[in-house]
């Protein structure tokens, strides 16, 4: 029982470290993230053929909707910001550099999964440790 208690205690502690670590790692990975709108840039003459409202936006085709992404290469960014404060990023540049930007949604997904499993582990191992603690007979002082 004493051995179980020790192992459970170490595992509970380890799970707590992993749980806390998942938040730290996610924070490090998310550092520098911003709301961005991917755009396939095109010639202003071509963009002018379309009846799209693009005041203050770079000429081009929007790829999807604005997402919170981690893009640390400043050369990927285009001039201007959108209505939601999103920055514009050249999809052409990302393709040329073979950059597939990490989304904060992905980081948070793995953080939450890791933290949940670790917290569950800490709870179970902590419970086991507590249970086994109450089962260890108190030491009788030697005469």
């Amino acid at each position: 029982v004493s051995r179980i208690r020790n192992i459970a205690g170490v595992l509970a502690l380890l799970a707590l470290v992993v749980c806390a670590g998942s938040f730290i790692v996610a924070s490090v990975f998310s550092n520098g993230s911003s709301l961005v709108q991917l755009i396939q840039p095109e010639d202003a003459a071509v963009a002018g053929l379309f009846a799209e409202e693009t005041s203050g936006e770079p000429a081009g085709t929007k790829i999807g909707s604005p997402q919170v992404m981690v893009i640390r290469d400043e050369k990927a960014f285009l001039e201007g910001t959108g209505a939601q404060g999103e920055r514009f990023v050249s999809q052409k540049y990302l393709d040329e550099k073979k950059i597939y930007p990490l989304q904060v949604k992905t980081i948070l997904f793995f953080r939450n999964i890791t933290a949940l499993i670790a917290a569950l582990g800490a709870f179970l191992m902590g419970g086991l440790w507590f249970w086994s603690r109450s089962r260890v007979p108190a030491r009788i002082p030697s005469a």
Binding site: D43, A45, G48, L49, A51, E52, Q67, Y100
Partner: protein
């Protein structure tokens, strides 16, 4: 006398039809690779892990458009098998039978059934979308802009007048045979936003 009236009506009818046919002109989406940058189909998907956009430049088709009456029709084809999501494995999944089945039925086709000008260059478009061999009616909002041939359009490479179209619509993928368990479990949204953007040119 009656014959004269009937003849008059017939002549007027034929003349009106001729004017109508002459006004509604044919435009073609060029398939030459040099025009790839001016046409794109995108489809946005939201999953638990990330939001991604599949895209392809393989868009073709024909447009009938009357810039005066602001009416027309269109048939647009997209090569579904060429849609790229940025992750090769995910592309394979999208082409599989659980999703869009593009390996078996690569053609995505949209045929308009009614086009109504709502304001300015904006239109409400109803049409039939065929995906994975299944045809369903859906409604789209579109912007359509007609530009007469000029130095700019010639400079881009178009030989005649052009019509540039951006159409946005929502696709419920379960209506078209997608049946992956992730959809029913709610880990992937089943209603996707799709956009087709292209320039068609008079021949």
């Amino acid at each position: 006398m009656n014959k004269r009236i009937l003849f008059g009506f017939l002549t007027a009818g034929i003349a009106a039809l001729s004017v109508s046919l002459a006004a509604s002109r044919a435009f073609v989406v060029p398939t030459d690779a040099k025009f790839d940058a001016q046409k794109v189909f995108t489809i946005d998907s939201e999953t638990d892990i990330e939001n991604f956009t599949g895209r392809t430049n393989k868009v073709s088709g024909t447009v009938q458009f009357d810039p005066e009456a602001k009416t027309g029709s269109a048939t647009i084809m997209i090569d579904g098998a060429s849609i790229d999501t940025g992750v090769p494995l995910r592309n394979e999944h999208m082409r599989s039978a659980d999703w869009f089945n593009f390996d078996k039925n690569p053609e995505v086709k949209f045929v308009t059934t009614s086009i109504k000008n709502t304001s300015g260059d904006k239109y409400r478009v109803v049409g039939n979308l065929t995906l994975n061999g299944i045809t369903k009616s859906l409604t789209s909002t579109a912007t359509v802009r007609f530009t007469k041939a000029n130095e700019v359009t010639k400079g881009i490479g178009y030989t005649g007048d052009v019509v540039a179209i951006v159409a946005k619509f929502k696709v419920n993928i379960t209506d078209f045979g997608a049946k992956h368990p992730a959809i029913t479990a709610g880990r992937v949204n089943k209603i996707l936003d799709a956009t087709v953007r292209f320039v068609s040119s008079a021949q």
